[in-house]
């Protein structure tokens, strides 16, 4: 603590310039994933919605790695998050266009699966075409998701987009409550459905694009965080957004502290940890809610 405030020399540098930006980024990225997950679940009225299931991080990663691979811009320029945002916009936009207004669970999941696979294939293509093996290796590691060696420069690049994302998603929260009645009933209650969709798509794109551009692919936080708080907020999709963001921040912070503390020759990547914990959680969730999911084939 002393090193944080007035420490000189090595401890001060370590805490202020290495640990602090990493901690801040972990919290902010976790919060953004938690918030986007809660927003997508609210929009699609589906507790299994998650940015990664719809290929958003994959698309962001594909576009961002394209920029890195071909040296279009340095890794700490605004071009990387912008590319990530563009990729996410395309992915979520196509998802909503394909799944249509009714956003049925089956169609949404199938479209998301296809988009995620396409994002993966695009990344593979970029690795395939990478100008030299060092670039390919760099992208491959970056894709695993990590906050190692991230600085205030990264924070400065990502923060404006994250704030934009929080504002856009936060403004739509009230609409999610009405949307639990279906789109027609929500529209009849004065909710502007198109504007809500656009705000969620663009807000998610800003948030996920910026996060992925900085930290690589970190999956399942957006799924797990809203689910952990759902009972506590009485299943209210609007009231759950802030707690989901805070829980997301706590999850990524914990995972990042975990990867730093686990001893070993190489640091395990953050994205690997969240996926290793997230996937079993996801399966357990499907298992416990399968009756609900089966009983609701059309919605």
């Amino acid at each position: 603590m002393a090193a944080l405030v007035d420490g000189d020399g090595i401890p001060g540098i370590i805490v202020r310039d290495i640990r602090l930006p990493r901690t801040l980024l972990a919290g902010l990225i976790g919060a953004t994933f938690g918030l986007t997950g809660a927003a997508l679940q609210g929009l699609l009225r589906n507790p299994l919605a998650e940015p990664a299931l719809f290929g958003a991080p994959q698309a962001a990663a594909a576009c961002a790695s394209l920029v890195i691979a071909f040296g279009l811009a340095g890794a700490t320029s605004f071009a990387v998050p912008l590319a990530g945002i563009a990729g996410t916009l395309v992915a979520i936009g196509s998802l909503l266009a394909i799944a249509g207004r009714r956003a049925s669970l089956t169609v949404t999941m199938l479209a998301g699966l296809a988009l995620a696979s396409f994002g993966g294939a695009a990344i593979a293509l970029i690795l395939n075409l990478a100008p030299n093996p060092h670039v390919a290796l760099e992208i491959a590691f970056w894709l695993l998701g990590s906050l190692q060696d991230r600085s205030y420069d990264h924070l400065a690049i990502a923060l404006p987009f994250m704030i934009g994302s929080w504002v856009m998603l936060g403004m739509t929260a009230g609409a999610f409550r009405a949307l639990t009645l279906g789109e027609d009933a929500a529209a009849s209650l004065g909710v502007n459905i198109n504007r809500t969709r656009q705000a969620v798509v663009v807000g998610t794109a800003f948030g996920i694009g910026a996060c992925v551009a900085i930290a690589g692919a970190i999956s399942f936080v957006g799924l797990v965080a809203p689910h952990l708080v759902r009972r506590a907020v009485g299943s209210d999709p609007a009231r759950g957004m802030l707690p989901a963001a805070l829980t997301g921040a706590a999850l990524v912070l914990a995972a990042d502290i975990g990867v730093r503390l686990v001893p070993g020759p190489v640091e395990i990547k953050l994205g690997v940890v969240t996926a290793m914990i997230g996937v079993p959680f996801f399966l357990a969730m499907i298992f416990s809610e399968r009756r609900l999911l089966e009983g609701n084939p059309a919605s």
């Binding site: 009225r45 409550r177 009405a178 009645l181 279906g182 009933a185 529209a187 909710v191 502007n192």
Partner: protein
């Protein structure tokens, strides 16, 4: 007896085209205060599409006026305060508590900070009481039976306290007692000064409860009048393709469809 009542909604030449075909074709109608109007017709006649067009949930041509003001000129919230819409199916996508669902009916009245006003609380309480769903208030909507869901969905629409209420098949999948309860509620909503338009498949309910019946077929209103006139056996044979008789129940005549033609 309804002649003196104020016209709340006036629609002229409303047409809805979906994929090139006119699903609703040049429909003109009016809804007056204190009036419960049943909209009946065979499957695919365009009843739901007409209702959604009147609620401006889909684009249509023609003109729709509410209290003399064009519907298009109203802001979304103004329109939402004027027309409450109960879609078919009584679908709830999220396991919210009943009280929270009914409170959604107050969404059009909310201020920028979504604070609950005393008027909101009163309206929600009144809607819960009217639909006899008070004891369900703390339950999750997804755990309710079909009849309970239908009443909660109706409570949500009533809580808006809009002068015009549209209900799309409010009695579908309900047992006889709940059908009657819902129809009595709709009639009470009309008697308290509003206009209620309900899509019904049960011609007996339409004949017994509606002040006026509109019969729709092929996107057009083909009959519009007192239940006994609009639902006469010749009309039912033409529109529904059924052999029907009019039976005196002691409380008026109701149509009974005997066999398909």
């Amino acid at each position: 007896m309804m002649a003196a009542a104020a016209t709340l909604l006036q629609a002229e030449a409303v047409t809805v085209k979906l994929g090139g075909a006119s699903v609703v074709d040049d429909v003109s109608l009016s809804l007056r205060a204190r009036e419960l109007v049943a909209l009946v017709g065979p499957n695919g006649a365009g009843k739901t599409t007409l209702m959604r067009a009147l609620a401006q949930l889909l684009p249509s041509s023609g003109s729709i006026e509410i209290n003399g003001r064009p519907l298009q000129s109203l802001r979304l919230r103004e329109r939402a305060r004027a027309i409450a819409y109960l879609p078919q199916g009584h679908v709830f996508h999220w396991p919210m508590p009943v009280a929270a669902v009914v409170a959604l009916g107050r969404h059009p009245h909310a201020d920028a900070f979504a604070r609950t006003s005393p008027a909101d609380r009163t309206a929600v309480r009144r809607a819960l009481r009217a639909t006899a769903t008070e004891e369900l208030a703390a339950r999750r909507v997804t755990t309710l039976s079909g009849g309970e869901r239908a009443r909660v969905a109706l409570a949500r629409a009533l809580a808006t306290e809009a002068p015009i209420l549209f209900a799309d098949e409010p009695t579908a999948s309900l047992d006889p007692r709940h059908q009657l309860l819902v129809m009595e509620l709709l009639r009470r909503a009309a008697r308290s000064g509003g206009a209620v338009l309900a899509i019904l498949h049960d011609l007996t309910l339409a004949a017994r409860f509606a002040d006026r019946v509109m019969v729709m077929d092929g996107g057009r209103i083909v009959a519009n009048g007192l239940p006994t006139d609009a639902l006469n056996p010749a009309q039912l044979a033409k529109v529904f393709g059924v052999d029907a008789v009019s039976v005196d129940t002691g409380e008026g005549f109701v149509p009974i469809a005997r066999r398909p033609l």
